[in-house]
Amino acid sequence: MKQFAYLVPRSLDEAISFHEAHGDRAKYVAGGTDVLVKIKEGKILPDYLISLKHILGQDRPLLNQETGELYIGSFVTHRMIEKSAIVRIHYPILHDAIRNIGSVQIRNVATIGGNLVNAVPSADGAIPLITLDATANIQGPKGERSVDLARFFLGPGLCDLERSEILIEIVVPPLLLRTGSAYIKFGRREAMELPMLGVGVLLSLGESSVTCVKARICLGVAAPTPIRALEAEAFLVGKPIDGGTLEKAGKIAAKESRVRDSIRGVAWYRREMVGVLVKRMGLKCMERIKKLAQ
């Protein structure tokens, strides 16, 4: 394995200045579960690793009681999110996804920001956050900016980060009343798994608790980046939600998916599963809405 120097900045500004000083020879690292594997495999060969995990104030997801926004620091570990009662109760879709990433050992060190900037089509962290309309806050040499997480992913391994920029925070906007959300990681085993498919669904119902007022369907491993099934979402809005409508939405989403053959799964099967799983996650949303109401 290639040797590198390990730099430990105490603030974001310091981290960014380190990166600016070393340019392409440097790489940010947080949990290291992706970066170190890539170094071991010789896919990247940085001379400097700039550690972000010692920067303070990034230990747990925080709910802003006034605005209803959920703030998740980029360097919060998956395990912290998994253990967060706020997430488990109010954002079950995120809990569904996070608790099935890697193994406990991996979740203890891997960070949510790392999962996002790694930008693989199968990122389990990205799908629920896009489904929740999350925003990514980014800091760089030119200051701060925000980007809709749905637009953050540009291609496999590519995301909307300029040189020296750091993804510092995820912001989830307040949820509408009568909202349910659910995610399924569809794979071949229960742990240490990359999904063959990831499906996140969010449904908000109107006052009657029947008609859909908002729908989000986000798919992982169905295209080079996470994608939203916009036509299927549009189909659901304004309709009463039941098994039949969800089945139709699933079929539309399946058509929208751009699945392909790989050693991890064949396209026809993945496409078909988009249909099945969108329906199932939709039904799970409905169950969760009902449960909230009780």
């Binding site: 394995m1 193994s103 569809f186 071949r188 085993r189 229960e190 742990a191 240490m192 990359l194 050693i263 991890r264 799964g265 064949v266 099967y269 078909e272 599963m273 099945v276």
Partner: protein, 758 residues
């Protein structure tokens, strides 16, 4: 029943604490003074002529100590068919072919040197499908062999299958297939070779066959011009064997050659990816199976032919048809049997022994076919099995003498625990499959023996030197418990030393589920000799004839008058520190009275046979094709449980390996290239995938086994896949005949069935 103090007790694995705290030494941990690190350059093509190898740049790299290519080494041939060489010359026949080897002062430099070696290839057309490889115009993997079909005629015909076919009332005929799976040992392969000044070799290596490996390495030394030398094989702690270490491999010979050239110890340790692509797999098979029974359900015949993908070279794996013969001729009573198997060279990775040694493949076909025959004939699947179950006293068509047999009990127990089939929940089903396996050694080599030496110290403690190889399965506990029981000692009083050929007696190897039976009997024999000697000594001291003495609680005593007793340590010291003193030592070599298979493949290969029945309750998701195992029962007749926790461990581990084989595991090959050489994409099951397993045991107390025990190393993974396939059929009426049973295959079958019905 005897009141036993050590045998039958749930005593944790002797080295469990050392393993859990990281104190045991694996090959990765061993460092010798001046040690160099070796790396291997593999082929870039599945089949190609080697035009030129240019090592000049690599040789100039600082820190490189030796570079070897096929031209630099003598003609060392290895493998059961002697068709493999440590470094290839002329051409490469698979992606895992070794083309060059480097020794350097650290692994990184060795790795860098590999990247500087320039090999020019001329690609040749490859052959990857064994059936295509059998055709006359197929490219030849080994030109000098003239054909891709190995000249190993696996062929038997007992009784008269053709006549039986005419008399049969019900018959089924089907084709099944299995693919490549691999052992996934957590400890990767590795070896360190070292020569002394007079060219005697010491090699530390992960092996299940220290004594046979010694013989292989002696032949290599001979080929290197080193005659009349000594080879010492030391096996460090192994992180899993499962049959993968039942042969010697190129990397071991390369560590020897590099050590010889550099005069330094050379270590080669595999990375995980290398472990996946450069070690051997279980044989993929194509199996045509026909079975028939009369109107009473009695099996009349079994007719099976197979094609096995041998890969580019031949390891012991090519002899797995000899073990497949066991279930084919002897699982259930079947009077007329015909079997033929062909192993075929391809440009794929070459296969090897893997837990079950052919039995999982054959049993998958036979037991799936049994359920199909049950349906055709209208018999309940379990009833059909009961009608044909083996019984103690049977002699099978292959001349296997069934001494003890708990198959009936296993069938009943599994059925009881999984319940009758009706009433049925939608998508839920149960399925069963049974097994026979060698349980009393297996004479596949000239000797099936194992030696033991016992040395007692002045304090009543024992050093026990066994030929047995512990690789995590618990051979060390097993011999310690048997000896402690026999001599009335604590298990902790017995220190087991294993797997150093300079110290330990000969053993044929940790294969064929033979260690408990053979090494156990060997240890028992040595203990009995010690016991006789102790009784002899004590008899004088206690003024009592030896026949009325017993050993218990570290004492020797008069059975009917336990107050007349002597502490064993005291007795030993008395005899040690007296005129003409003596110390107590004993050796025993046990070689069972089993038989090699004859030219007709008949012969009682094992002293006894282990039986078992597995059953699964599954739930099939008809929209996704996913199979969930709700409950799994694996019942075995094991003679006697020497250590129930280790026994259960073997069964649980075997079952999980079997479930992986059934549902998820496969090495994905694309034109000879392994596409998933990592745990991310090779779907071995994880701790979170463990299903509820019950492992009832039946003790039939085999007269030849140590304390009545039979072997249980392999059975856990033998009938798993057919039990699950049968359960899936019961659940949703689709029959999957190819492993693994992926959701895609299940869903495809569901769709085909729906299409057929509509």
């Amino acid at each position: 029943m005897q009141d036993l103090k050590a045998v039958g007790k749930r005593i944790p694995k002797i080295d469990a604490v050392d393993k859990a705290t990281g104190r045991v030494e694996y090959i990765q941990d061993i460092k010798l003074a001046g040690m160099l690190h070796g790396k291997i350059l593999y082929s870039k093509y599945p089949h190609a002529r080697i035009v030129n190898i240019d090592t000049s740049k690599a040789k100039q790299l600082t820190g490189v100590r030796a570079i070897l290519t096929g031209k630099d080494i003598p003609e060392i041939k290895f493998g059961v068919y002697k068709d493999n060489r440590p470094l290839k010359t002329g051409k490469v026949r698979s992606y895992r072919d070794e083309v060059a080897a480097v020794a350097a002062i650290d692994p990184e430099i060795a790795q860098e040197a590999l990247s500087l070696i320039k090999v020019t290839y001329e690609a040749l057309p490859g052959i990857f499908d064994p059936e295509a490889a059998m055709k006359e115009d197929a490219p030849l993997v080994h030109e000098e062999h003239k054909t891709n079909i190995l000249k190993m005629p696996w062929k038997l015909h007992y009784g008269d299958v053709e006549t039986a076919k005419k008399e049969t009332a019900y018959m089924v005929e089907n084709r099944f297939s299995t693919t490549w799976v691999t052992h996934c040992c957590l400890g990767t392969s590795g070896a360190i070779a070292q020569f002394d000044n007079t060219n005697n070799l010491t090699i530390y290596t992960n092996t299940q066959i220290p004594s046979l490996a010694q013989k292989d390495f002696l032949s290599a030394l001979k080929a290197m011009g080193l005659r009349d030398k000594r080879v010492r094989v030391i096996k460090p702690c192994i992180g899993g064997g499962f049959g993968s270490k039942l042969d010697t491999y190129a990397y071991e010979y390369l560590s020897i050659l590099l050590a010889f050239h550099t005069r330094k110890p050379v270590k080669i340790v595999f990375g995980r990816e290398e472990e996946f692509f450069a070690t051997s797999t279980r044989q993929p098979t194509i199996m045509d199976v026909a079975q028939g029974c009369d109107k009473n359900g009695k099996l009349l015949f079994r007719d099976i032919s197979m094609v096995l993908d041998n890969g580019a070279y031949t390891s012991w794996g090519a002899t797995t048809p000899s073990v497949m013969m066991m279930p084919i001729t002897s699982l259930y009573r079947v009077p007329n049997v015909r079997y033929e198997a062909m192993c075929v060279y391809t440009n794929n990775t070459y296969s090897q022994a893997m837990r079950g040694y052919g039995n999982p493949q054959a049993t998958f076909a036979i037991e799936s076919s049994m359920d199909m025959l049950a349906e055709t004939s209208g018999f309940d699947p379990m009833e059909l099995r009961r009608i044909n179950a083996n019984q103690a006293g049977d002699v099978s068509p292959q001349d296997f003498q069934i001494t003890t047999c708990g198959l009936d009990q296993c069938i009943d127990e599994v059925e009881k625990r999984l319940g009758k089939k009706t009433p049925k929940e939608k998508g839920v089903g149960v399925g069963f499959a049974s097994l026979i396996h060698v349980g009393g050694g297996a004479r596949v080599y000239k000797s099936d023996g194992c030696g033991t030496i016992i040395k007692m110290d002045d304090y009543g403690k024992i050093n026990l030197f066994t030929g047995a190889t512990d690789m995590g399965q618990g051979a060390d506990n097993m011999v310690a418990q048997i000896v402690a029981e026999e001599l009335g000692l604590d298990v902790a009083d017995v220190h087991v030393i294993h797997s150093d050929t300079d110290v330990c007696p000969w053993d044929v190897g940790a294969h064929a589920s033979r260690t408990t039976f053979v090494a156990g009997n060997s240890a028992l024999g040595a203990a009995k000799k010690i016991k006789a000697r102790i009784f002899d000594m004590a008899s004088k001291q206690l003024e009592a004839p030896p026949e009325i003495l017993v050993m218990a609680n570290r004492m020797v005593m008069v059975k009917e008058d336990p107050k007349k007793r002597l502490e064993i340590g005291k007795l030993l010291r008395k005899f040690h520190f007296s005129t003409n003193g003596e110390m107590l030592m004993a050796e025993y070599f046990y070689d069972p009275e089993n038989e090699n298979l004859g030219r007709d493949f008949k012969g009682n290969t094992s002293m006894t046979y282990t039986f078992g029945t597995h059953g699964a309750r599954v739930k099939v998701d008809e929209e996704t094709g996913k199979v969930q195992i709700l409950k799994y029962v694996a019942a075995h007749d094991i003679g006697r449980a020497i250590n129930p926790i280790l026994l259960e461990g073997q069964v649980y581990g075997g079952v999980m390996m079997g479930i992986g084989y059934a549902l998820t595991e496969q090495i994905i090959h694309e034109k000879g290239e392994i596409m998933n050489p990592n745990f991310r994409d090779y779907k071995i099951l994880t701790i979170k995938d463990v299903v509820p397993i019950e492992a009832p045991v039946f003790e039939t107390f085999d007269k030849d086994g140590p304390y009545g025990a039979k072997g249980i190393g392999e059975p856990g993974c033998v009938p798993t896949a057919p039990a699950i396939a049968n359960a899936i059929y019961d659940a949703i009426g689709v029959r999957i005949k190819d492993l693994p049973i992926t959701p895609e295959r299940v869903l495809t079958a569901i769709k085909a069935k729906k299409k057929l019905e509509s």
